[in-house]
């Protein structure tokens, strides 16, 4: 028994001996990103992480600077792109979630002509690689006069086959038919039933899908790059990548732009992590 627990401890030690260096290796790029964004251009080239000096820990803390952030916000107007990203991501996330939840519920529980055909089309659409639709959608948006508009960017993103499929499965599993019948007998309208009965029952999935869609829209590059033309409308993904073309050697500036782009979604994920994971596992357990 004793030798068993000793060997378990040895195993744990060996596992940590492998895991700790790997964890450090994973975190180094983040540390480097943050320090690079806080260093003057001279210090960027003369130090790997933080500039050496005679402050605490042998680091010249006083040499760190917010000049890159100042330039981003006060000269280059990155605040505009930040607001654009917030607007595009939250609008798309909320509207797509509502459209997919309502559509998925209708496919799962309501009768209407063409339901079978739509279900088949949705399943088939799961395999379509989005790049295949890039050129025809661009042409369509041109014909509809929606190029260079947020409508042209948001509207096509509101009906992902994947989302409808998820909500179809979720409502099939967690919305009992008897409950819907009972609500109907009580005189609830179908729209009332959707908002009052169905949405609360799939709440974990709603939370997870809003978060997934928000992150995906925030990080989306190809569609805004193709649809938008006016610089004032660019979200961070396009605006920051274009900085790279203009300020190629200005590493501190580019890294500060990256920090600004990455912090909001990371903070959101950390805040909603519990909700997110419970949503995913709820789907998995019931699946």
């Amino acid at each position: 028994m004793r030798s068993h627990s000793v060997s378990l401890k040895m195993w744990a030690l060996a596992a940590h001996a492998a895991l700790i260096p790997l964890a450090i290796l994973t975190l180094i790029p983040f540390v480097w990103l943050l320090t690079a964004s806080l260093k003057s251009t001279d210090d960027f080239f003369s130090s790997m992480f933080l500039p050496a000096g005679d402050g605490p820990l042998g680091i010249a803390w006083g040499d760190l600077t917010l000049e890159h952030y100042n330039r981003l916000f006060f000269e280059l107007g990155i605040g505009r792109a930040l607001l654009n990203s917030v607007f595009l991501s939250s609008t798309t996330a909320v509207l797509a979630t509502l459209a997919c939840a309502a559509g998925g519920y209708a496919l799962a529980h309501l009768r209407f002509a063409g339901r079978g055909l739509v279900t088949t089309l949705v399943l088939a659409a799961l395999i379509i690689p989005p790049p295949l639709l890039l050129a025809p959608t661009y042409q369509l948006l041109y014909e509809l006069g929606m190029l260079d508009s947020y409508t042209g960017l948001i509207l096509p993103a509101l009906a992902p086959a994947f989302g409808v499929f998820l909500f179809r499965q979720a409502t099939l599993q967690s919305v009992p038919r008897e409950l819907l019948e009972a609500a109907r007998i009580d005189g609830c309208s179908e729209i009332g039933i959707f908002f009052g009965v169905v949405l609360p029952l799939v709440r974990p999935m709603v939370g997870a899908f809003i978060l997934i869609t928000f992150l995906a829209t925030w990080n989306n590059f190809v569609w805004p790059q193709v649809v938008l033309q006016t610089a004032e409308k660019f979200p961070l993904s396009v605006a920051v990548s274009q900085l790279k073309g203009v300020y190629r050697q200005d590493y501190g500036l580019l890294m500060a732009g990256t920090v600004v782009s990455v912090l909001p979604p990371a903070a959101l994920f950390m805040l909603l992590q519990k909700e997110f994971i419970s949503g995913l596992t709820a789907g998995a357990v019931k699946g």
């Binding site: 369509l140 009906a159 990080n219 073309g245």
Partner: protein
């Protein structure tokens, strides 16, 4: 249910399904159909177009740039499946040791690169892999005395992309494997161990069959994602395909053809080849999964 009630139900059903249905028809079904027509055309921007029938496809077959793109994409995909996924599984097995402390913290750390979008990872990586001023060459120089001028982004573009996506996706895939491993019946593993099976035999005969459904799902996801690689090399290589097109991928070539050259028809033809490849991969994968399940 009375006829009247069914009618009302059906009207409400249309109301609820309408937003999704409308957008799905207009922006998925219609573009898909138009992609079929566009692939038979040559265009100059969104307006000027003429039918060329199958010429786009015969041109693709003879287009060395297209083959370059296919080759690069397949190399990257193979690396994702055969390097990245085994590492993810290994990491998950390390974390799955019973009684390991700090599992949650490790899992969050390894997953964290996933929180950066590909574009922003590309921004960061393009400077880390820079000659002289980049972190990687400086660290390698300090540790092993290698050259500060090692040309990652100039000559070794594919290895650079593969290393970058290792950082980004190993932890992501590990989360799936870890969840699967935690559902493996430990009594089976112990029984095999009592029967004298070594670690490798236990892995092959007990663990692997138990996680097979999740593993084939992860393989398929990884292939689907890898085949569509675009923004990572595009942003890392400053909106180009890199020296000698070393970073050209299928979707990058689609983008260049459609939105730099302005030929939406050629871009659509490339899109169809991409779709066909994905369907092929999915079919092969499904067949493999089935035959293995039988065996």
């Amino acid at each position: 249910m009375s006829g009247r009630a069914r009618e009302q139900g059906s009207f409400a059903a249309y109301m609820l399904a309408a937003p999704f249905l409308g957008v799905f028809l207009l922006f998925v079904v219609v573009p898909l159909a138009r992609a079929g027509v566009l692939a038979l055309m040559q265009t100059y921007g969104p307006q000027d177009s003429r039918f060329v029938m199958l010429r786009n496809f015969t041109s693709l077959v003879q287009d060395p740039l297209f083959w370059r793109a296919v080759g690069n994409t397949l190399v990257f995909t193979a690396a994702s499946v055969f390097i990245q996924l085994p590492l993810a599984l290994g990491l998950a097995m390390l974390l799955n040791r019973p009684g390991l402390r700090g599992r949650g913290a490790y899992r969050l750390i390894f997953f964290s690169p996933q929180l950066m979008g590909l574009v922003f990872v590309a921004m960061l990586a393009s400077i880390i892999f820079e000659k002289r001023s980049g972190l990687l060459n400086q660290a390698l120089h300090a540790a092993f005395g290698t050259s500060l001028d090692f040309p990652w982004l100039q000559t070794f573009v594919m290895p650079t992309l593969i290393i970058t996506t290792l950082w980004m996706y190993v932890g992501f895939n590990m989360v799936y494997f870890l969840a699967a491993l935690q559902n493996v019946d430990q009594t089976l593993v112990e029984a095999a161990s009592i029967d004298g099976a070594g670690p490798w035999a236990r892995f092959v005969n007990v663990t692997l069959p138990a996680i097979r459904p999740v593993a084939s799902f992860v393989v398929l996801l990884s292939i689907i994602g890898s085949v569509q690689l675009f923004e990572l090399p595009y942003v890392m290589l400053n909106a180009t395909a890199g020296p000698a097109n070393r970073g050209l991928t299928i979707v990058m070539y689609l983008y260049q053809s459609g939105f730099e050259t302005g030929d939406l028809g050629y871009a659509s033809a490339i899109g169809w080849v991409l779709a066909l490849m994905l369907v092929g991969f999915a079919a092969i994968q499904l067949r493999l999964a089935r035959s293995e399940a039988k065996a």
